[in-house]
Subunit: 404 residues, 2 copies
Amino acid sequence: MNGKATTTRTKLERGRSALGPALELVHTGRAPTRAVLTSELGVTRATAGAVAAELEALGLIRVDSSPGSAAGSQGRPSHRLAVLETGPVVLAAQVHADGFRAALVGLGGRIVATAPGCVAVMADPAQVLGEVVAAGAELLRASGLRCVGAGLAVPSAVAEPEGTALNPLHLAWPAGSPVRDIFAACVRDAGITGPAFTGNDVNLTALAEHRHGAGRGAQHLLCVATGHRGVGGALVLDGRLHSGSSGLALEVGHLTVNPEGRPCHCGGRGCLDVETDPLAFLTTARRDPGPEESLLKQAGDLLRTEYEDADVRNAAEALIDRLGLGLAGLVNILNPDRIILGGLHRDLLEADPERLRAVVADRSLWGRSGSVPILPCTLSHNSLVGAAELAWQPVLDDPLAVLT
Amino acid sequence: MNGKATTTRTKLERGRSALGPALELVHTGRAPTRAVLTSELGVTRATAGAVAAELEALGLIRVDSSPGSAAGSQGRPSHRLAVLETGPVVLAAQVHADGFRAALVGLGGRIVATAPGCVAVMADPAQVLGEVVAAGAELLRASGLRCVGAGLAVPSAVAEPEGTALNPLHLAWPAGSPVRDIFAACVRDAGITGPAFTGNDVNLTALAEHRHGAGRGAQHLLCVATGHRGVGGALVLDGRLHSGSSGLALEVGHLTVNPEGRPCHCGGRGCLDVETDPLAFLTTARRDPGPEESLLKQAGDLLRTEYEDADVRNAAEALIDRLGLGLAGLVNILNPDRIILGGLHRDLLEADPERLRAVVADRSLWGRSGSVPILPCTLSHNSLVGAAELAWQPVLDDPLAVLT
DNA sequence: GCAGTTTGTTTAGTTGCGGCACAAACTCAG
DNA sequence: CTGAGTTTGTGCCGCAACTAAACAAACTGC
């Protein structure tokens, strides 16, 4: 009897095989109607119809059968597809030096509710994550929505498969903290259903931007971003995050971008990490760096408001040149078809896009790989949405298995 | 009528969907028996049996039904699976500064016949490739085997999707030569059946080593190798070559590994390219570099025969340190689970494996990603076998579609 | 020689999906 | 306003690939 139940499940588990891809298309907004869903999936209209109906029955999407909608072209207008506003959500959380944020995120990267909060620099990750998860649980209670998982973004490399934070920057957490397990325990203890995931914030930013922001449609998306200190990178290949064999890929901070530059704790000199982060910008511009947890804001404000100042401008140009050198190195290695920049790098790009593009093109090996588009990140809470993507992934992979 | 034929084909084209994966398992030697084929595919014994029978009927593999074979364990012994020696082959070709080589390669990376040849440094790629293909066609005639495609390895980055050679090293070919089209034309003109493919030699080396050599089983395989001049890299992710969005990924030659090093044509200083190639080794060891087209051999011989000489040893250690720095940089970016080295780098590894591993571990960000295994390439004609892999790929993807 | 184990084979049944025909909902021309 | 043309949704049939289950075969070890 037990054996029979298990063997039967094997069959049911697979479900309709096009279900996952179909949901992903709606989720990322690439299937606004059933007609394009049909062509994107490469199946017949009959199959696409059945798949859409099944997703609707699962309470994930909405199929607008109302006939009189905007058409524009000839023929019978197609039913419109959209994520269901009252469908399930995931709990997304994010911690950084100056606070935390919890949110409920629905399909399509839609932020349903948020709860920001400050956090004293406590040494104990369990306490911080407990607070974050409690805030999320409260949101969940207030909303009354179903929760299918939880995701956390941390400013640290996260080693796989252990789920430990190797360098939790400015969080006063011990290196090697098992954040994934701690977060999972907090989630479970708060009575929140579904699995819990943890990832690096820049990785999750890249994932979010790929699905809902400036990275949409890119096949080889490179993302480089600063926090208050240091530089992180991420790569999304064919829609999946590439985090290497143990989660430590794209640690781009120690590319050499200035052979005569300042020494770095890694043992080298002139690393991207210490040459292009907010602290480097402020000191290069001969400004007094203020408190650690607002370096990013200080640098960004300075860049936007005093660009006419010679020191500021010179500092910006120096950093752009070094960033360009680093990006060119990455272009030579990864050959992305799009680059997106976050944090201070985003501000540097917007201060002088032509200079940055010129440096990258000049220092990458062939003009054509150097002419890769470089864009600023567009989502406002991208690492939060990215954390949600992590939690949505099982649903996107197999909606039936998760929701039944 | 036409419409009907096309629509019907859509169905037939798909064939048995597990056919491709099954052939790949036999091809790479991971399915020595039908029993492991069953478990590797994750299907029932019935399905695996049908799949194996179909591959046998297609003339690709051999199913040894002879009962009295070596067993060892309990239970009924499983039928052994192997590629069919008299099955189809592909034409593999390789050109480099000191000559060319044509070969017939069967499934499993088995070299059936080879025809080496010298080539004067002719400026015209069409002439060189014509000679190579003619040699291959002769082999084919002599063998009487069926040919299902052709692959070519060139010592140059090959831009996709155009198939042009951007930097044909020391071949005196114009940069940007449309080698893929030229090769395809030669193949067609020689009456050889099947599609023709062209790729970079280091990429193809990595592919060959991943499927049949030192890279077997690696999920994130990084390969770095020298030719006579310069350094190339390649990455195999989950069994597929990662060549970036336009074929130009893993151009690792211009990582900075020696800030005070010699200037490089790329505009930087101390690039991996000019600091760790055979010419760099010979000059660092204060030897007179001989003819360009034998630099690799000179350097390898010197390293193996005169390692006791202080100049040689110092040069080797200097190059190992710089190579280690470059590999550490790549480890930080790509986080591979295995690294394989070819050309002079392979010789350097074998000269002092501990030193190289120590440098990589020391200069990569976290010990655990730095402890990645570093191994020498093992296949003798790896880029030739890799070129064959390129040609086999359509068959591995869908055996039925190609062979019917 | 018999139990136990593992593998191959046969048969029946399920199912996801393509093909097809038809209905539905629009645009556009006149 | 009407009919032709176009595009999309739906119901029905059938196939092909797979699973499940029962049985047969070929070995080991006691």
